[in-house]
Amino acid sequence: MLLVACAAKFGGKRLVFRGTMPRSKQARKQLLKSGFFDDPNVGKVKEGYSNRDNLLVTHGKTSVEAAMTADLMKRAAESVWGTNAYSPGVQSIFVELMHNTNNHASPLAKGEKDWWISVTLDRENRRAKFVFADLGIGVVKSLNRKQQGSKWFDIKTKAYTVFQTNNPAYYLKLILDRTLHQTVTDKQYRGKGLPTIKTILDRNGITNLLIVTNNVRADVSNDRYISMGCSLEGTLVSWELNASNTCLYER
């Protein structure tokens, strides 16, 4: 999906997007099944490269499209639990992430950055995998750029006073469990945005939550937060639904 997002960036600048297939057989197979070659930004590909019966992709949106994500969510939930099932947790996550991209992904103005979604349905194992990404500024950089008047203004200095570290991976953990906000504002905080997603994980609404943003990789489900040697200019969030997660049924 990030490749598609990059291809769209190239296309926007009228540049041809070229590349070779991955060497790994598994990666090659995954790429072929992903629908990447169906994307109009990718250009001509050999026939037979469009086998994507188990993948739903949407991209290039900047606004919050709750009706569209509800449709994706329902199709995924029904593949896991059967007819009329739905997952309010997954829909809430979609709305939070679309809102974040719309509001925070560009340092210049709201609604400037596209978001991308892919949903892979594994009917055999009753699982669905979701990936949401934008190529915006990223969570860590966004936080560091907050202007005076924002509760997050000068967060680095304030947080360093308390935690004695500037490790961005540690800060992402503190954001997700609300500690950072509580420390900075000295107020109880139920949390909006990213903390809400962690709460949905804690309530068993989803499983295998992973966040990659700037140089931080957060395997939230396993409480592993690491600083990487490389950086993603943007935010990628992935999670799964399986039969053990909680769901609701429409009447």
Binding site: E65, A66, Y86, Q91, V95, R190, G193
Partner: protein, 122 residues
């Protein structure tokens, strides 16, 4: 002793607005909290306050909420001077059998907005 019976107005967000609530503001996309507040919730709250009644809001049977929708819808009632926090505490009650924690969240948004309003007034 004169006992005046209070009328309770019932509002289901799923039936009275939509099953796919969106984000905070109209300019962010369809079915926003702002749209719900301006087009549906605020007129009802105004009527209920004028008539001395109660308002019962059913949060169930949507496909899921973003926090910004609920904050803008209910906290926004205070920011736009439709009602005060104490007034909302007097008239509002909620049902959320499917996601019971939402009720506390909504009250938190109301109380935060009221705290900010009081702070700005003083």
């Amino acid at each position: 002793m004169l006992v005046r019976e209070m009328t309770t107005t019932e509002l289901s967000i799923a039936k009275g607005f939509c099953k796919t609530p969106g984000s905070r503001s109209r300019n962010e996309g369809d079915f926003s909290g702002e749209q719900f507040r301006e087009d549906v919730l605020a007129p009802i709250v105004t009527d209920v306050l004028r008539d001395g009644g109660l308002l019962f809001v059913d949060l169930d049977h949507t496909y899921g909420y973003g926090t910004s929708f609920l904050e803008e819808a209910f906290g926004g009632l205070i920011r736009t001077n439709v009602a005060t926090g104490p007034e909302l505490h007097r008239i509002l009650s909620f049902k959320s059998d499917q996601e019971p924690y939402l009720i506390d969240e909504v009250w938190e948004y109301i109380d935060e907005a009221e705290a900010l309003r009081s702070k700005l007034r003083n």
